[in-house]
């Protein structure tokens, strides 16, 4: 059903507003774009008519000195009824069309691929049906006028989804409200810490689509990017199978995977640079001082507590930004992460490990 001629709904005018066509074939995208262009042209017609009339009146009836006023009716009931009823009819239509697209956005087709999405300050995590999570990430790169390479400030995770198949996301947050928005799919829904919300789309073409957080969530709100990569379904399957957690290889490789997939990498480095949180490199056995006094040696218990109750011991110089991972990680996963941190080297570093070349630790090596 075309509301308006294709020439007005597509081509230049569509490019002007949206740059690209919607990349999802879900109803909210198709109906939404169609409705938007319809409202746009409706508005243009009204606006041009009203402003034209205004301009005409202002020119025609401009004040001439000494000219007597001309009487004209101060109201005109049929006219007033007409300009109340006619817009109402348009509005009723717009409402129903909008509701139609919305209703479509609410209910995913039964064969949808179900993926869990978690948002936290300031990272995204998708958990695939097989339990795998994406280890991929990238930075957007740009070239400035001087030819220098620039990058975006944070690593953006890359998530894969199958092409030509509806995908439903079950979304929840670990801290504050976020909002999942893929402009190419023309829809967003908020993500809450106390309940699940849903989102579905169907991307038919292979390609990359940026994900933004649309609900203000703090410092790095504007850096909370991710990329949604649409792959052919077979490739999607083999990719997520390849990401499955390597439980059979012992705790350290598992910990390394979890480090990337559970969002640790957003705040903690493994190369010695301090980030939002302290680095993990060569902290094993180190003595940490805490905000408000007290110190402790980094061991399995300390790490475990810091993951589950981050607010309990806050390391000096790193104001607490971390959320609790209680319920997000089970015991095996915690053990794997602890083993991984231990594998990153003890403090003081054993000679020849080569992990501390940046030397950016807040405390001098060998302070204890």
């Amino acid at each position: 059903m075309n509301l308006i001629p294709t020439t007005l709904a597509d081509g230049f005018w569509h490019w002007l507003w949206f740059n690209e066509k919607a990349k999802s074939s879900a109803g909210v995208a198709t109906i939404g774009d169609e409705l938007f262009m319809y409202i746009f042209w409706l508005s243009v017609v009204w606006f041009v008519f009203l402003m034209g009339l205004t301009f005409y009146f202002v020119v025609k009836y401009r004040r001439k000195p000494g000219q007597k006023l001309v009487r004209s009716p101060a109201h005109h009931t049929p006219l007033e009824i007409a300009w109340t009823v006619v817009p109402t009819l348009f509005l009723v239509y717009i409402f129903f069309k909008g509701f139609w697209g919305y209703a479509d956005a609410l209910v995913a087709p039964a064969n949808a691929e179900l993926i869990n999405l978690k948002a936290q300050k300031w990272a995204w995590r998708m958990t695939y049906p097989n339990g795998a999570e994406s280890p991929l990430s990238t930075r957007f790169t740009y070239t400035d006028a001087q030819g220098n390479q620039l990058t975006s400030a944070q690593d953006a995770p890359i998530f894969v989804v199958p092409a030509g198949k509806p995908v439903q996301l079950r979304m929840s947050s670990m801290d504050v409200i976020h909002s999942f928005w893929v402009p190419d799919f023309r829809a967003k829904f908020d993500i809450f810490p106390n309940r699940y919300t849903a989102y579905w789309f169907q991307a038919d073409e292979v390609g990359d689509h940026p994900i933004y957080c649309a609900e203000y969530c703090g410092d790095l709100h504007s850096e909370m990017y991710a990329i949604l990569r649409v792959l052919p379904e077979a490739e999607y399957r083999s990719t997520i199978d390849g990401w499955a957690i390597p439980w059979d290889q012992g705790p350290v490789p598992v910990g390394k995977v979890l480090y990337k997939t559970k969002g640790c990498a957003a705040c903690h480095t493994v190369d010695g640079t301090p980030n939002t949180g302290p680095t993990w490199s060569h902290i094993w056995g180190e003595e940490h001082e805490f905000e408000g006094g007290g110190k402790a040696v980094v061991d399995a218990n300390y790490i475990r507590e810091s993951i589950l109750v981050p607010a309990a011991k806050i390391r000096k110089g790193f104001p607490n930004q971390m959320v609790s991972f209680q319920g997000q990680l089970n015991d095996r996963e915690l053990d794997a992460l602890i083993a991984y941190i231990e594998s990153l080297g003890a403090n003081p570093p054993a000679p020849g490990t080569g992990h501390s070349e940046t030397g950016a630790e807040t405390e001098p090596a060998g302070s204890n």
Binding site: L106, V107, L114, N116, K118, T127, P129, N130, G131, A132, E133, R170, S172, M174, D175, V176, P193, N194, R195, Y196, T197, A198, D241, A244, I245, W247, L308, V309, P310, A311, A312, M322, V323, S324, Q326, G327, Q328, N330, D331, R332
Partner: protein
């Protein structure tokens, strides 16, 4: 406080200068003492009635095991409160005798309260229209600990605060003393709080249980379900196993369900 309506020879329109828009004010009413006293007596009667009905219900439930649906309870108590409120408004606050405008103002305000209540409740009460699981709540304590107190008394709460308090006193008193104090505080409670503890709780539907039932359960790692992934509807049973209650109930499907 009446006025002599007098006309003005000079002005073209006959206007009462003290009330140019006509009769917006009224005679000052002196409400008879007997009326006020009767209203007070009726109000006291309704207070005792609503308390009596409430007691009767508790008694009926405890003695005969008659469970009156909660909406009846709410409807009765609220109807009595509305009658009492109307009496206060009409007589004590003199709306019955007063400028109608005041009644209109108050009616509008009640209407606004109604809108507020209606739409907020419609939203929070109808979250599960499309998917049942959208209605459920993910566990409390999900955002990583709140601190309270200062200095030596500083405590960081992880998980649900009720379980935190229970754990704290269990550790402080030891299980024996804990049970003793519990019995002394709760058993002799003047209201018989434990009358039918078994029916106090209602599973909050649509939690992780429902989620994992519909989510594919294929687990690549094949690791065994762990204790902290156990989905425990809040308060379904007394928290003998605190560990299961501390666990937030929104572990992702991979978490071993």
């Amino acid at each position: 406080m009446s006025h002599d309506p007098h006309t003005h020879g000079t002005a073209a329109v006959a206007l009462d200068p003290t009330d140019p828009h006509g009769a917006t004010h009224h005679e000052h009413v002196i409400i008879p003492r007997s009326t006020l006293m009767n209203v007070l007596l009726v109000l006291l009667f309704f207070t005792l009635l609503t308390v009596g009905l409430s007691r009767a219900e508790v008694w009926a439930a405890g003695f005969f095991g008659i469970e009156i649906p909660q909406w009846v309870n709410v409807a009765v108590a609220m109807s009595i409160a509305i009658v009492k409120g109307l009496l206060v408004l009409l007589f004590f606050m003199q709306l019955k005798y007063d400028n109608k405008l005041n009644a209109i103002i108050f009616a509008n305000c009640i209407f606004a309260v109604g809108l507020f209540l209606f739409f907020s409740m419609t939203d929070l009460g109808f979250r599960g229209v499309v998917y049942e699981w959208k209605k459920g709540e993910i566990s409390l304590g999900g955002t990583g600990g709140v601190s309270r107190g200062a200095g030596d008394h500083k405590e960081t709460i992880s998980g649900n605060v009720t379980h935190f308090a229970r754990e704290k006193y269990l550790a402080l008193w030891g299980p024996e003393k804990f049970e003793h104090i519990r019995a002394s505080v709760k058993h002799d409670h003047p209201h018989g709080a434990d009358a039918n503890t078994a029916n106090l709780s209602r599973a909050i539907t649509g939690q992780t249980g429902a989620l994992s039932a519909t989510a594919p359960t294929h687990s690549a790692g094949g690791h065994a379900p762990s204790a902290d992934g156990h989905a425990a509807p809040a308060g379904d049973h007394p928290p003998e196993a605190p560990a299961s209650h501390d666990a937030p109930k929104d572990a992702p499907p991979t978490g071993g369900h």
